[in-house]
């Protein structure tokens, strides 16, 4: 065998092995997807059925059984709502820290990061009681408040690193041309960082959408987002695997697609810029 052939063989084996591992790890998701098109009987058949006539009934029943659309709406409103609010609060802060850093900017950034380190369970009790006393339990507004605060540090960090990478010359040129600070932001900074702001928002939406601790503890029936609604399928009242799969597939599909699009931002955001 020549060296070239040897190298090709090696690539082939590496590739096959990587595919095998990837398919194994992806299998539970694939299986959830497949099961969502089965009847309940097919879903629990042993040996597992791989070939069957797909049905869309589950998706209909899920709506009737647990008012899927209401919970999907809750997920959309809480994750988009809190992301938009957090962005509005974070953009000015990140902007001022990136373009007009002071002596204590670094300390402030690290302090903001440290608020993320507080385990949720450490403040579960007071938040629960505050929510109960103020009628925020099982409300979308309550969840939006929590999600906004939860993601604010990550959002500020990501925006800060985007703003910092903007070419300073352009800003100076704009200032020379007599742009006001406000005009500078609206006409130069924002258009240049639209991509960064969008992917920051996307990451925040993913984190809110999949948030489970606060959703499970602070909501019941009215404001429960999909994470909490799906948890209700864990009750042993019967085998609803096909319906559970249908509900889960609908809940996870958009986020998986979002996630594929913003892998880089995800790494940067979740590691606070430590890995680029």
């Amino acid at each position: 065998m020549t060296l070239n052939q040897q190298r090709k063989l090696k690539t082939l084996i590496t590739g096959l092995f990587a595919w095998l591992v990837a398919l194994l790890l992806f299998f539970p998701i694939f299986w959830m997807f497949i099961t969502s098109f089965k009847t309940e009987l097919q879903a629990i058949s042993v040996p597992p059925s791989l070939f069957f006539e797909p049905t869309l009934d589950n998706f209909k029943v899920v709506q009737d059984r647990s008012d899927y659309l209401l919970h999907a709406m809750n997920s959309v409103i809480t994750s988009f709502g809190s992301t938009i609010i957090a962005l509005i609060i974070a953009v000015p802060a990140a902007y001022s820290m990136a373009f007009f850093p002071g002596k204590r900017t670094k300390d402030i950034l690290l302090w903001m990061l440290s608020t993320k380190m507080l385990p949720a369970v450490g403040v579960l009790v007071p938040i629960y009681i505050l929510f109960r006393n103020n009628g925020l339990l099982d409300s979308r507004i309550g969840l939006i408040i929590i999600f906004t605060l939860m993601n604010l540090p990550i959002i500020i960090w990501m925006l800060f690193s985007y703003f910092k990478d903007l070419p300073k010359e352009i800003l100076e040129a704009a200032r020379m041309d007599g742009a006001s600070p406000w005009g500078e932001v609206v006409k130069v900074v924002l258009p240049l960082s639209v991509g960064g702001i969008a992917s920051t928002g996307l990451l925040s939406i993913i984190l809110c959408w999949n948030e489970a601790f606060w959703s499970l503890n602070l909501t019941a029936s009215n404001a429960a987002p999909l994470t909490a609604m799906i948890a209700s399928y864990s009750s042993p009242e019967g085998l609803f695997w096909a319906k559970l799969s249908a509900a889960s597939t609908l809940a996870c599909a958009p986020i998986i697609v979002f996630g594929w699009f913003c892998q880089k931002q995800l790494v940067q955001g979740l590691t606070f810029g430590a890995v680029k």
């Binding site: 385990p119 009790v125 880089k264």
Partner: protein, 286 residues
Amino acid sequence: MKRSITRLLMAPSVIMLLVWMIVPLSMTIYFSTIRYNLLYPGQNNFVGLMNFEFFITDPGFITAVANTLILLLSALIITVVLGVMLSALIDKPFFGRGIVRVLLISPFFIMPTVNALIWKNMMMNPVYGIFAWISQSLGLQPIDWLGTYPLMSVIIMVSWQWLPFAILVFVTALQSQDTEQKEAAQMDGATGWHIFRYLTIPHLARPIAVVVMIETIFLLAVFAEIFVSTGGGPGYASTNLAYLIYNQALLQYDVGVASAGGLFAVLLANIVAFFLIRAVGKNLTV
């Protein structure tokens, strides 16, 4: 721009985070020193450290601390070791690498409650699950995973979720590895193992440290997976600190003891956070 304006721009963020940090935490500290049970309102006298004593002598406490640490260490080892190996594996080009990468990272985007239910039902169910079917096909007795190995089951679910995160970070980090250096080593006759051991691993040292610390923050607080799959049981077999505190607060309504537990969890997380913030801070240029 004037300092006052920059301060004004930062004020909303800083004030909100300050309130978010101080108010609930001081309430937790206050609650932890008084008798406070939602079932017996109006008897909120000061009890000193009694709540801490109650929490620490709770029959589930030792088990919960042990479970928290076992879960943390197992999941860390699984995700970091497999993560390094898999990211090195997909670092070189091969057919369909993009798709493999997408498949590998997908579990990270599955919400924790769905994760737990997929594994609990479709994988680990002792009668209808895939694992049971595999056991039977091999002529073995199917295992009741959640009943017999509850903690291990939770570890599997959590690792499945966080392995993609490790892969994602390591793959990103490997992209910045010096290819010329690798090629030079290859020219000099270094084997793949040598390159992995002496070039890749040292290059990944920092990302590994970061992954360990970030996963630690999340793994110390695993909740939804336990809530949905085992409910902390059987007994306390799969109860961790977060679940024990939840149990005290929202199932037994003992706010005082739960607050004491919450402070214990905060202390534990702070030890980790201290190192994480130092590591991240080093990298931060303002």
